[in-house]
Structure formats: C-alpha cells, structure tokens
C-alpha cells in the first residue's frame, strides 16, 4: 500500500524555507523519568521542516513533557535532540529561538498588546524602526491592530490567544511550539482560531509542533500526528493513514470511533485473515506480521452498511445483529446494535434508509467489504 499525500502538503508554504520537508529536529531516544514514573519512554521522532506536527494523547501520556523538552524548559533523563547535526539537548530555552504558545497564554500582564509582541524583538536588540514594522505587521496578521494599546486583561480569551500567537511568531522562530492553545475557548471560537492557525502556518511556512488531547482538532490541523500512550509513541503518520490503518488497538480507538470484533479460529492465507465472530465467518486483509493469534477485526461505523435481508450473492462480510438503540441526530440516525458475545456495534444511517423505521429489537444485517476492515492485535 502506498501512502496517500497529506492534505496540507499539497499547499506549499508561500515563503518556502530552505530544504522544505527535510529533517529539522531529531528526537532521539528521549526518556523522562520522575522518580519511578516514566513520563516518556524512548521516543524517536524526526520533525520535518515546515510541517504541522501534532502530539496527541490522553492526559498523562507525556505529550506536554515532550513539548517542554523541545522548548528547553525540561532536561530529559536520557536521549538527545539534534538540530542541523548539533546536539541541542542542553541548550537553554532562550538560545533555541523557538516560539512558544502556552496553555493560558502567559501574556505579560504589565505590558500592552504591542509591548507583548515587541518583547522578543527587544531582547534580541532589534532596532526600533524594524521592531515597529514587524509588530505592526504581526498585529495585522492576527487582526489586533486596533487593540495594540490595550492591556491583556482588557481582551477576550480569543484575543489574548491571538496576542500569544503574534508574540511567539514575530521574531520568525525556527519552530513554533503550542501547548493546548485552544483548550480554554468555546467551540465556535476554537473552530475560527483553528482556521486562522492553519492560514498562518501556510503563510509563514514555520514548523509547528502542537500539543492537544482533542482528536478532531488534531485531524483538522495536522500534516502529521504523533499519538502518545503512557509515555510511548504509539504511532506517527498522516491523519488519513492513522485513521485508515492504525497499527494497534489504542490508536484505532483513540482516533475516531471503531467497532472491534474479536476473532476465534483465526486462519491466514497470504494477507487474508479469516476467523469466526460468533457464528459468522469474517475476513479482512492484514498488512503486517502478527505475533499472536488473538486478533480483532476493526471496522469504522461509516463503513458499515445496514440491510434488512442478507444478500448471499455478494462476497462481503455479513453479520446478523439486533437493534438496541436509535438516536435521532437531525440529518441522520445513530444506531446501536448487539452482536455476538455481548459485543456492541454502532453506525449511522440516513433518515431515508429503509432500516430507519425498524423497531428496537429487530433483527438486521450489517455488511462490509473484505478489504475495508483492518486487522489488529487484541
């Protein structure tokens, strides 16, 4: 299987940086230990120049710790960071030239918006005229020109977020680090700022490393996502590849919804994996070698088709289920089914679907293509 192109890669940055797509920073075997607790366990990632990399995981998975190590605020217990052939693991934060947007923004409360944005330029000894020009352009980029003289406390959450973004980008950092920047904002504002962040990433071409626990945010923004589980890197890939071919159960369940069907009597011929789920024989294509025979078939809700009758002529997976619950969603209907072994499956159908009027307890059929499901280790 060849990897599909990433959605953001086909839009080249306006100001194409040198060796775009080349490795900018290598994370080599980073480990972080707090007493007996292993916050990060042997993480390897090559951060590519100009990419939008998201570190995604539940809380306590180590993603923020990794960001703090990248920023230079935390020294890792083991491993190193390499940038342009140099080991920068011990380089202090102020010498890395990375911009950082903190959770809760961390604006300077005693400075105006313009002074906040000016600060990184002032500490770099940039002359006054250039500074004024850069600050004005950056404030314009984030749409805060008319608020330049205000104190941060006089701004709304979304505006403060924009100040933090402008301040972190004004000195044209080599990399922008963002720690859950949208977590304190309401849903509408979040969507708006996500679009803005994407636009700014496109326009500036800076490498973004973004930490979040929100999977839809990760899917919407990233060119690549690194998923963390208990301090370990579970998988790193483009959003589509993570969604369509997760390497393990954690990734499959964390990113989007997934129906998991445990198999018995597993048999393999070539790539094809076949097994029994209850009374039904199910098949899927396994891409990799599996160490164990305890395998699951994973199938996304949107890949399931609902039928009133079984059509024996088609070479698909067929599963007889009982309708458990129906939830009206306006444009569609969410259905929940009981399968064999107390398993529960979910899918959505259009209101016009013949099964939409089926009563609870009705026997229905679910079916999907043999090449649609994925094989996972239990």
């Amino acid at each position: 299987m060849t990897s599909p192109p990433s959605p953001l890669r086909d839009v080249p940055p306006v100001k194409a940086p040198l060796q775009a797509g080349g490795v900018q920073l290598s994370i080599e075997g980073i480990q972080q230990r707090y007493g007996n607790f292993l916050a990060l366990d042997d993480v390897f990632i090559d951060i590519r120049r100009g990419e939008f990399l998201t570190l995604l995981g539940p809380s306590g998975s180590g993603k923020t710790t990794l960001l703090m190590i990248l920023a230079g605020f935390v020294t890792p217990s083991a491993g190193r960071l390499k940038s342009a052939g140099q080991d920068i693991t011990l380089r202090p934060a102020e010498q890395r030239h990375y911009g950082m947007v903190f959770q809760g923004y961390a604006l300077f409360p005693h400075m105006s918006v313009a002074e906040n944005v000016d600060f990184p330029l002032r500490v770099r000894g940039v002359d006054r005229a250039t500074r004024r020009q850069h600050v004005a352009r950056m404030l314009d980029t984030v749409g805060l020109t008319e608020h330049a003289g205000k104190k941060p406390s006089a701004l709304s959450g979304g505006q403060q977020q924009r100040v933090a973004l402008a301040r972190a980008l004004v000195f044209e950092p080599e990399m922008l680090l963002l720690d859950e920047p949208f977590s304190a904002l309401d849903k509408n504002l979040r969507g708006q700022l996500q679009d803005e962040l994407k636009r700014i990433h496109r326009e500036m071409g800076t490498t973004f490393v973004f930490v979040t626990h929100d999977q839809s945010e990760a899917l919407a923004l990233s060119s690549r996502i690194a998923i963390f589980d208990h301090g370990r890197l579970a998988q790193i890939d483009t959003p589509e590849r993570l969604y369509t071919s997760p390497h393990n159960r954690f990734v499959a369940e964390f990113l989007g919804r997934m129906n998991l069907l445990p198999l018995t009597d597993v048999q393999r011929s070539g790539r094809r994996v076949t097994g029994q789920f209850g009374a039904a024989p199910l098949s899927a294509l396994g891409e990799r070698h599996f160490a164990h025979d305890a395998l699951l078939i994973g199938i996304r809700p949107e890949q399931l088709e609902v039928a009133l009758e079984r059509d024996d002529a088609s070479a698909r997976n067929w599963l007889e289920v009982t309708l458990l619950e129906r939830t009206y969603q306006g444009h569609s209907l969410d259905l929940k089914f009981a399968g064999a072994d107390h398993s529960v499956l979910t899918t959505s159908i259009a209101m016009t679907h013949p099964a939409a009027s089926a009563p609870l307890g009705e026997r229905l059929w679910l079916h999907w293509g043999i090449d649609e499901g994925i094989v996972l280790e239990a």
Partner: protein
C-alpha cells in the same frame, strides 16, 4: 416584623466600630486641630512659625530623610528575603516565615534596649570587632542616626516582607517561562518581567514602612540619645518639656496631611487587598 427586627439587630451589631473610631480618633484629633489654632492665643501664629523656624525644619527633614532611608533599606532586605522565600522548598519557607515573625512577639522596647546593648561603645559588636583586631577604637554606632536606622530597619522588615511575598506569589510562573522561551536571559526576565510585576507591592510596602516610621518615638529616643530627634520625639518635647502645646499640635496636623497624601497614593496605585491577600 422579624425582618425589621433583624435589620435593627444588624445595625446594633455594627454601631460599636464607628462609635469607637469617633471616640478614640475623631474627637482627640479635633482637639489637636483646635489647639493648633488657639494655643497660646487664637490665630495662625503656630503655622507661621512652622513655615519659618529652622530648628523645626531640621527635625522634619531629618524625619523624612531617616524614614526614606529606613524604607529603602527595609525594602531591599525584605525583597531579598521574599525572593528567597518564593524559590525555596515549603520547609524552608516555614523557617523564613518563623524568622520574620519571631521579632514580632518581642516588645519594641526590649528590642531597642537589645540593640543598645549590642551597638553601644562597649557593646557586643564593638567588643567582637576589637577582639578580632578589625578596629582599634569603638565605632560610633549609637547616639547617632546609624543606630536609629539599624534598629528601625530591623523593626520594619516584616512589614515590608509580607506585602512583597503576597505580590510575588501572584506572578504566574508560566509568564516567566514564556519570557525565557522568547529569548530573554534570566537577568532580563527578572528586570523586565518579574520586577515590574512586583512594583505595586514595592510601592505599597514602602509607603507602609514610611508612614509607620514617621511616628517612631522609642527607637530614636533611646538609640539617638538626643542627637537624632525625630518628629514624634520633638512633638513630645514641645508639649511636655517646653509646654508649647500649640506648636506641637501644628506639627501633628502637618504630619497628618502628609500621611493622608501618602495613603491616598497607596490606595490609588496599589490595590491594598492584594498586599494583604
């Protein structure tokens, strides 16, 4: 009916405070204000003398100068202590607090005599320094403004320490991290980010110390030995030694105006509730 009586109960519970303030502050103050324009005879003669008398000016300038010196020194010491407190472990924080609090429980009179014993010509400090061969003849540490300043600073440090600790605690650590991430050195972070955010606390602490010092009587009287007369001691001398009640009262009025002005600045520029919080 019950609501009515409840309201009256609330009022009854509240009236003692205004009554005490009226009795203990407003009435005596009104008396002093009256003295300043009636003794020894009605008229503004006392204020005219206040404006022209060189001896009074010397006392007032000395008072302001000593209070400002004590304010600056106490602030410096308290700032260092508060900074250490902020970045030490909770265990150490308790120790620092204890060391700051301990002198609070000892009467100012006892502490002043303690300093007298330590600082006088044949006192502990001079004794040690001579024994160590650092000096040949005793240093003049009392009967001058040096001794007064040392003892006053010692007394005032806690009053500066707690407002400063409270204003430093309100500084967000992430803001300091952000400044470093944006390229500022540690010194730069301290000067441009940390210090400006403690300014309201510094101003508040300075005014509190300064105002407190203006009324100091015991320390300058004992450690100054008549050489460092400050306003409070001068007023006492005028009223009880030379029986110039009118001029003493006029000086009191001047001090009151000065203190009111400073308190106004305090309320205007630093939020008092943040200093105590």
């Amino acid at each position: 009916m019950t609501r009515m009586s409840e309201r009256w109960q609330h009022r009854l519970l509240l009236w003692p405070l205004p009554a005490v303030l009226l009795l203990c502050y407003v009435l005596p103050f009104a008396g002093i204000a009256v003295w300043s324009v009636t003794l020894p005879e009605p008229g503004m003669a006392n204020y005219a003398r206040l404006a022209t008398d060189g001896a009074i000016h010397a006392v007032l300038w000395r008072t302001l100068y000593l209070c400002a010196t004590v304010g600056v020194l106490a602030l410096l010491l308290a700032f260092l202590m508060a900074y250490c407190w902020l970045y030490s472990s909770p265990g150490w924080q308790r120790w620092v607090e204890l060391c700051v609090f301990l002198p609070f429980w000892i009467s100012v009179l006892v502490r002043t005599f303690g300093w007298l014993i330590a600082l006088r010509s044949n006192g502990l400090v001079n004794g040690w320094l001579e024994a160590l061969g650092v000096i040949d003849s005793p240093l003049a540490l009392t009967r001058n403004s040096l001794g007064v300043v040392i003892a006053m600073v010692h007394f005032m440090v806690p009053f500066a320490f707690f407002p400063l600790v409270s204003s430093m605690r309100q500084i967000d650590d992430r803001v300091l991290l952000a400044a470093r991430g944006l390229g500022a050195s540690r010194l730069r972070v301290f000067v441009s980010i940390f210090l400006p955010q403690t300014l309201p606390g510094l101003l508040g602490a300075f005014i509190m110390v300064f105002v407190f010092c203006l009324g100091f009587f015991v320390i300058p009287a004992i450690l100054g030995g008549g050489q460092t007369v400050m306003a409070a001691e001068y007023v006492f001398l005028q009223m009880f030694q030379t029986y110039n009640w009118g001029i003493g009262a006029a000086i009191c009025m001047l001090m009151l105006v000065l203190v009111s002005g400073l308190v106004w600045i305090l309320l205007r520029f630093s939020r008092v509730e943040r200093l105590v919080g």
